[in-house]
């Protein structure tokens, strides 16, 4: 038994939402029907007025959350550093976007905003008074290709454990533990021109226990076409340095929320890409008490997959693991 709850980010229904099969109310109803209690929303995806949200829209959202008895858990904000063509966002602009998100989130009943690492330690620290004034938590997502060894995270953890304690935290995204490309990625590689036997060869190479530079050399010298070479380099680049699950314990006190990221689950029993077995065990053993959001992301690769079926595999697999 554990205190871990499974929530859902509405982002999991991206395919249905952008193809206009489900609207905002539709995804909320579906989440409720599937048994979820807590939800995360990405306003940059589902708020037509983004980035400046009216009280009317916020009240509409609040009304829907009430109607479907869903708890507002996480408001996912962006640091869109590259909005402008001529320069990155200034500190003033980053503060404006972030404080606005905290205000909108608060009004909508959320207690946590997720932001992104590009906020910078200096600005993250400057958000503490706003967190206190609004009684809101602000978290940074650790998403691939970031991981605990990335220099800036040492500073972030220091702030989270120090002056920001209780207000500033982070969100683990399981993408940082991925070791293998998922099935939809492989399907796409085939569709784009990889030969099946060559793709097998690349996967075998990727799984070899040797230095990545040797694998890259092998891919470059091998009998591969352009798309195969591209696929090989992308695969080795993305999935060769997963974060260490043993490190979670060092910062679990700052982890306010988790993104249960997954791309494709063929069944209820096992994912060859993300080590859910070890993750669930570790989180349970460490006494993690928060939500893990079901975060289906296969929609980047294939719009024909049924998101609901994927989410059911995710919940079945991980509930089983937690109860084991």
């Amino acid at each position: 038994m554990s205190d871990i709850k499974f929530g859902i980010t509405l982002y999991s229904f991206s395919t249905e939402y952008i193809h206009e099969k489900l609207d905002l109310e539709g995804v909320l109803r579906k989440a409720r029907d599937m048994g979820y209690k807590g939800v995360e929303i990405i306003p940059a995806q589902m708020a037509p007025e983004y980035p400046y949200l009216s009280d009317e829209w916020i009240n509409e959202l609040k009304g829907l959350l009430d109607k479907y008895e869903l708890e507002p858990i996480c408001w996912s904000a962006y640091i869109d550093m590259g909005i402008r063509s001529d320069r990155d966002l200034t500190e003033e602009e980053i503060i404006q976007y972030t404080v606005n998100d905290m205000i909108y989130a608060k009004k909508a009943g959320f207690q946590m905003v997720r932001t992104q690492h590009a906020i910078s330690p200096a600005i993250f620290r400057k958000m503490i008074p706003y967190c206190k004034q609004l009684d809101m938590k602000l978290t940074i997502e650790m998403h691939h290709p970031h991981h605990p060894e990335v220099e800036v995270w040492k500073e972030y953890f220091e702030i989270m454990k120090g002056e920001g304690k209780g207000y500033l935290g982070y969100v683990i995204d399981f993408s940082i533990y991925q070791t293998m490309p998922h099935q939809l990625y492989l399907n796409q590689a085939l569709e784009f021109g990889c030969r099946p036997d060559k793709l097998e060869e690349i996967i075998a190479l990727h799984q070899k226990k040797e230095d990545t530079s040797l694998k890259i050399a092998a891919a470059e010298q091998g009998d591969f076409n352009e798309i195969e070479k591209h696929t090989a380099l992308e695969m080795f680049g993305k999935f060769s340095a997963p974060a260490k699950i043993s490190q979670i314990k060092d910062t679990i006190d700052c982890c306010f929320y988790i993104h249960g990221k997954f791309y494709y689950l063929d069944n209820d029993d096992h994912d060859p890409c993300i080590p859910f077995e070890e993750l669930m065990k570790e989180l349970r053993d460490l006494g993690y008490k928060g939500y893990i959001a079901s975060e289906y992301e296969g929609h980047h690769f294939d719009y024909t997959v049924d998101s609901e079926e994927q989410l059911r595999h995710f919940i079945a697999l991980n509930t089983k693991l937690l109860e084991a």
Binding site: Q45, M81, S85, P145, D302
Partner: protein, 138 residues
Amino acid sequence: MDFQAYNKIFICKDEIKNITVKDAVIGYEFKIKYPSYRGTFLSCIEALSFQVDGVEIPKEDVYFCLNNKQFLLDELKDCFKEYWFVRDKATIQVRKAGGISSGKHTVNAFLKHRVPYTGYFGEYLVLDSNVTETLVAE
């Protein structure tokens, strides 16, 4: 090769319509959506161009219409306050005296767009969407 599945929503299946002012037919229009899971800012569009029946439309004849505004393609890169909601259709107006003939037409749209939050280590991910659809003019 992330994001490629979103290309399916890029060119909308709506009919191509002629644009008339009283008796004059001054052009035609069709619709596109932003090919992603979330909205963007027009300033993140690094390139946008169209071919109709294999012929490139000169950029000065194209008006990008969104949020009750009309943009020249060259203006998009500067419009960092203009948000393109992922479910909103932009109307592409093409200025062409006489409009377009009724029936089937091949429309190609090419978009190069910056994903503004992907400055992971100082550089932004820039994606291409290159889609061709057969649309029907009324």
